[in-house]
Each structure stands twice: as C-alpha cells, then as structure tokens.
Symmetry: C2
Subunit: 503 residues, 2 copies
Amino acid sequence: MISEKQAPLVWSLPLGTPAAGIGLQRWLYDALRQAILSGRLPTGAMLPGTRALALQYGLARGTVQAAYDQLLSEGYLAARPGSGTRVSLALPETGMRNAAPAPRTGRRPAAAAAAPAGAWIERLAGSEPAFPLADRLAVPQPFMPHRCDVAGFPIDVWRRLHVRHLRPSRLVALEGTAAGGLPALRQAIANHLAIARGVAVAPAQIVLVGSVQQALDLCLRLLLSPGDTVWMEDPGYMGARQLMQAGGARVVDVPVDANGLRVADGLRLAPSARLAYVTPSRQAPLGMALSPERRLALLQWAVRQGAYIFEDDYDSDYRFVARPIPALKSLAGGDTQVILAGTFSKLLFPDLRLAYVALPPQLVEPFTRAASLTSRHPNGLAQAVLADFMAEGHFDRHVRRMRKIYAGRAQAFEQAARTHWRGLIEVPAIQAGLDIVGRLNGMDEATATRRLAAAGITAFALGRYRGSQWISPGLVMGFAPFDEAQIDASAAIMAKALGRREP
Amino acid sequence: MISEKQAPLVWSLPLGTPAAGIGLQRWLYDALRQAILSGRLPTGAMLPGTRALALQYGLARGTVQAAYDQLLSEGYLAARPGSGTRVSLALPETGMRNAAPAPRTGRRPAAAAAAPAGAWIERLAGSEPAFPLADRLAVPQPFMPHRCDVAGFPIDVWRRLHVRHLRPSRLVALEGTAAGGLPALRQAIANHLAIARGVAVAPAQIVLVGSVQQALDLCLRLLLSPGDTVWMEDPGYMGARQLMQAGGARVVDVPVDANGLRVADGLRLAPSARLAYVTPSRQAPLGMALSPERRLALLQWAVRQGAYIFEDDYDSDYRFVARPIPALKSLAGGDTQVILAGTFSKLLFPDLRLAYVALPPQLVEPFTRAASLTSRHPNGLAQAVLADFMAEGHFDRHVRRMRKIYAGRAQAFEQAARTHWRGLIEVPAIQAGLDIVGRLNGMDEATATRRLAAAGITAFALGRYRGSQWISPGLVMGFAPFDEAQIDASAAIMAKALGRREP
C-alpha cells in the first residue's frame, strides 16, 4: 500500500494560481476537478492530506477540506479509512456532469467541439434523460418541482369547449390547421402578451408548437452552423442544456449570480455567440430576475452582434409580490433579436403540450417552415379549444385563481422551512413561480436525495442543473401542486430523513 | 447576334457515351442538364440544332428533339424564333430541382455535401415549402392528392369519447402521458399491425409521434453522422427528400421502376448508406408495390451493412383489389433493421396529427429520448381517445367503410379518365391508396398545372417529387375526398382546360 508520503507525483501537479474574483475554495475545486477529468490526476491517484496541501498553497486547511468534501460528495474522490483520499475508480456519471467541464476560456475540450452534428444516438448515450421516460406519469410527490396543480383546472369548461368543436358542422376543421397555428389562438396569445408581458407583436409573429423544447430545438437548427457558440445559463434548465449538447452546439456556460445571467462574463467568454438562452423573468432554477442593467447589456450585445436571444418565459404569469416583470422582448432591440417562448403546459396542465413563440419578423417564415417540415403542426382541436378558453376569459380567471392559491402555498412552504428545516436547508423568500432552490447546510446532494427518496419525498439535486461552474449543494423543490397541510407534513418528514444519521 | 455556325464551343462539350440500360433520350437529357447545372454549358450558350446533334451522336432527330423539349419545358433551355435554342438566363427554381442533380456516381457536388449541418435557414431559403404554410387549410379542391375524406369521419363517436375522458375523475390524466405514448394506444397499434400488416412487435416497440415527418426527422438525427448517405426514392415523397436535404444528409436518388425501388442501383450508387427511405406498399407517388425479390435484396443489404430501412407505410390500409401487402418489417431481418412508420392523419383526418413508429428493439430508448428531448410527447387526450376508438372497433369499421367508398371513387376516376382524357392523360389501373399519377401526353407540367389552376382544378406536377432522375411529365391527383359526380364533372372541366389552346 502506498502511504501518503510515497505519493510525490501528485505534488508535482501544477494547479496554477487562483484567478482574481474567484473564491479560493472554488478555485481549488475547479483546478482539482479539471485535473481529474483531463487525466492529469489519474484514477486511483492519491491526493495529499489537507494540511500538507493547505501549507503548500498558503490556504486555510478548512478551505482545502471544503473543496475535498465537494469532490468527495460528487464522486470524483473516494476516501477510505487508513488509505487516504484518492481519485475515484468510478467517476461520476450523472447526466449533466459527465462531460469534461468547459475551461475558463469558455471553450469545450476538442472532443466535445468536434462531436458530429448527426448521430445523436452517440451523444445521448452518455447522459441521463432530461425528461422521464417512464410508462406512467403519476400525480407528483412532494416536492416535485416544475409542476402545476391540475386539480384546480376547470375541466368542465374544457369539456364543454370540446363538445362545441366536435359537431358534424365542424367536420371541415378536421382538414387541418395552418402550419403556424390557428389564427384565433395566435390573436388570443398576442393579446395576452400585450397585457401581461408588455410585448407588442402581431398575431402573424406567433407560431404554435408542442413545447418550448421544440421551439428551442428549431431555433438551434435554424440559427446555428457547426462550430457556432450558444450561451447557456449556469446553473440552468437541464432540458435546454441537453438539447444544445445533443445538437452539437458549442455550449458556453455563463455564470448566474444574484442579478441573473452575468452578461459581462458572456461577453468575455464568447462575444461572437449566435444565440443566448435566458430565463430573465425567473431564472431557472435559482429564481432571481435578470437585472435591468443586464437586460440592456444583453440586448445591446445581441443588436451589435446580430445574435439572437431565446427568452424562455416558462412561468412568469405566477408572480406573487407585484405585477409580472415585462418581458425582455418588450425592450428596445427585442423586436428584432428576441425569440420569446412560453408554454401552456405549466399554466394549465402538463398534458396539453401547447407552447408558442413570438418571433422577430424575419424569422417567422423560416421558423414556420422548419416546424412544418419537421413535425407539421400541433393538434388543431386543442388549439381551437384553447383559443375559446382564452377569448372567453377562462384563461385569465384560471391564472388569477391559481396565482392566489400558489401564493398561499409559497407562504406555507416558507413557514414550513422555518419550522422544520432550520440549520438543515436555507429557503429564500419566494416571489414567483412553481418551485424554489433550498441550499443544503453540511450535506451533499447525493446523500440528501437518497435519504429523501427513501422517505417518499422528491427533490431534484441542484447539480442536475449545473454546467461547468461550481455551485454549493442545493435541492430544487416544487410547492405549487401541494396543499398547505401536505407541505407542512412533508417538510417534517424531510427534516427527519435529513437529520437522521446514515446507518 | 451569334449564329448557329459561330458557336462551336458548345460542340466541344464532351457528353460522354450512353450508359447501358438507359434510354438514349434520357441519357441526352441527363447529360445536357448536368452540363448546364455544372456551368460547363453556361447561361446564354447556344445549343446546336437538333439535326446537327443527331448526326454527330448517331441519334434519331426525334430523340434529340424530345430531350430538348423536356429541357425547354423545365426552363433549362429557352428558344426564340430566329435565335435558336439557348441555355436559359433564368434557371428553374422549383423547390425540388434547384440543387444540381447527383451525378451517376451517387455523389452530390462538393457544395451540397459540404453544406453545414446547422443553419437550416440557409438551406430552406432555396426551396419551396413541402407543406402549405397558408393561414387556412380549406376543403380540398378536386383533384388535390394525399388527402382522405373527412366527411365520412364518425365525429359523433369521437365527441363521445372526448366527453368520457374529460371528467373531473380523469383530472390525473392531465399530468401528462409517458414519453413513448399511452400504453393502451401502443397496445392497440401493435394489435393492428399484427392483423393488418403481418408485423409482430411488442407494444413497447411502438412510439407515438406527431407525424411521419417527425419520425423520419428523428431517425435521420439519431442515425446519420455528417457525410453519411441516405437512399431516397426517385421520384419520391417531397416531404421526405426536403427533410433530408435540410438536415444536411447526403441524399442519393435511387430510381424507381415498375417494380419499385431499383435496389441494385442503390447498391451500386451508395452501398454504405446508413438509411434507406422506402414506400414499399404503394410507392409515393407512382403507386406500385416493391417486388418480393427487391424486398429481400433490400433487407439483405440492410442486415449485411447494419443499415436501417425507414418504411413509410402511409396509406397501405386502403388497398382495393386484395388484402394489404404485408409490411417489409414482417420479413426476415425486418425486426432489427426496419423502422416502420404509419400515420392516422391519412386514415382518420389530417388535423389529428398522430403517427407512430414500430422500432427495432435497440432503437426504442434512443428514439424515445430524442423525441422527448426535442418535442416532449403528442397531446395525450387525442391518444386516449384514439386508443378507445381502436379498442372498441370504431377504427376497423371506419377503415373498412372508407375502403369501399374509395374503391368506388377509384373506379369512377378510371371511368372519367377513359371518358374525358383519352389522348391527353394516361391513367393506370388504381389498386390502392388515395391518389394516382396520370401521364401527360404532349404537354409539359408547367403548362398543364397553370391551365388547371385557372380552371379551379388542383393537381401536383410530378416534377415536384423528382430528384435527379428524368421522368416523363405527369400529374399527381387525388380521388379519395371527391364523390363520383364531382369526379366526373371535374374531369370534364380538366379536359377542356388542357385541350384548349393557349391564348
């Protein structure tokens, strides 16, 4: 057995020096992780003790310990009593993290950049599915994120509207819907965007699709040539990141802080990107709004560069503290550079599978053609029913009613966190949306989610949303589909599960 | 002005010698067209007279005249009285034809092969939409092809099934459908395939999508790497060809004859293709079935090569003379190499937008993931209603009933052709499907479709389905959505429109 003193090879590893503006713990974590992923620190290699490393680099021992702990919790390192800390024999393979991270230059390693543009089969094989493939989607368990409450949906109204459209006199509607969508529905969506989001678009600029995923997929195919770069929020929505990776785009992870996407970092990392994916109204998953200064900087970059911004406006109608924030698309430059995408699957119910894009005029025809060529159009009956549902006021009534209900549940969630999770999980004030991120205190994500699953609680590890940037451990949890009693009871179960020491 | 005798440059053009098995007229047509598209015969260049060319190549003058006429009708050549025949100043730009054709080696010119894999916006810009983008899809005009008759659809049954599924007790269904589709519907489709198509697949191998276009798109993305080749029927379905071109695949046009796809030509042109697109039950648009020998040869190639066959089984349930032909997928090798795709949009009504694939086991998971990532899943209510519609026997009843109706209309169409079109359009015996190809006698497609449009008649030019192979002029016409009286009256209008001399 190799003792700690017999492993000077590891010592010769150049870790470089900390960059300005990055915490020492994060610097050390990044440097070690990159050394492991690049193979410079090979599988099985032993790391120096925390004290030795702290001395050599002039760091506090606690800083080294914290970086080691993070790498241990993520599976990059393994520790056995009496054998020290080694590079793990089985590197972690959790979907979002198994590719080598982008170095600070914003460029992925050559292998990822050169990945073929076809042959998705190879690229998908290496990662976890972004969406469940199971044969049955059940009612969500607490605290499943990204879901609305279907129990509140006025299904009787919905049925009545279906009956109206399924009459012999309406047989002609079965011939098919226009490629861009039903004109009445496009009009209703344009009206909604004007009032709720401050966006002025003609109905002809609205195109109906099955999902925001489809809208993003089409934009990536339309706008990116091989080797073109796209900005992705980090952390960010895993469905978007996986789509970019599968399509062979060069994904540049742009960090997110308390003011949302760090636009200046994007400008530095990849000034000539073709597309930026952002969730400006409520960052997915962290929840902050993009600050006004950054909105302007982002738009100015897009206008200057001729780049496009994909604004994923996934649940902005559910804002509890004030009016919804106007869309990025409503600002100067947004008319020509911003593709605004929204979905009804989060506002009404997941199975509806209707979403829309509000497009810059120059993209309307190419987008419609690409949608029509690759999938034709979404089910027309659902479009006709939704058009009536909106035109007759049911949509606004439903959103207002659910907003109140979700606001109450958000409060209950905050209260439950104060009651049950003090010291375990930090929950921020909830201002909007269907879910939040709680920060884990002194527990890694793998341990937490494993214990929660055993207790019948669902929470997503924040790491699933991560690109290449370090982020402290957290859980993404939904509150919208659960009533106040369920929230309190489930929070108590959770506290017990997390507080319990591992057997 | 340059006289005919002053243009010896054209004479020096090497046209090669006719290949075995190709008619002289087609050889000359191909050689001249390629010379024009490649620029060797530049815009404005004058061609020799038909007599001089016939003498030089030892051809009958009529053969040369026929090749010239075809190129004139397609716009490659222009003739002015007293000025001879020249290469046209405005080369034709009809969607399917504006790319240079694949030379006999099966390789596209370098420009097409090097087309970027992203940036669809550029590739789409150069061609006509394969599907209409109009704001309103009307009831089809005679003789619009590829459409069924929605008037025969039992909309009352359809409404009743919707009401059943839209009850408060079924709210849970609004949570969403499994990525691959509703299990009950997959079971119903597997049963149908076993009985109607002789295909034994487990329900788990069936995946629901929105359209056959989407299924083909996903297969191209999953299976093809950049530079990979795909076989396309020529002539063939323009939706499929345009999808391949937009996606950047190397499309090899494989000719079709009276026995369907010329598999031996495919083997010669592109033996290492990754995918072959075929319509074996009823070739789209020509209508013949792929012969048993060629089915076996195609499957043997796929097995040997590890290639896949995309079997587009778009309207095989409508066969009037005997039982439907078993699917290619039912033969040896079909279980692992054939992706069978079918649609309900032609069997029930276009707006339904539900289609399925029966996949080889090894493709189920990657295909489902790709579908889920790029579009999630098709509307679940429509899936639930269709599952009941099939399980309760409505589907079989409807198809049987419509088959009888369409058979009667096919006969009426044949009769109308005999009555009104003798000498103008040759119509073959109709054995299956919703549409047929009539061959034009002595009129080019552009003239015919222009005159028909003016008379309120829709017919697609056969040239829209063409790849790089020559085909004599024809019209693709549908008979299924029109009753006997409409068929006879429209055929009479058509005869008048085509018989009338141009003003």
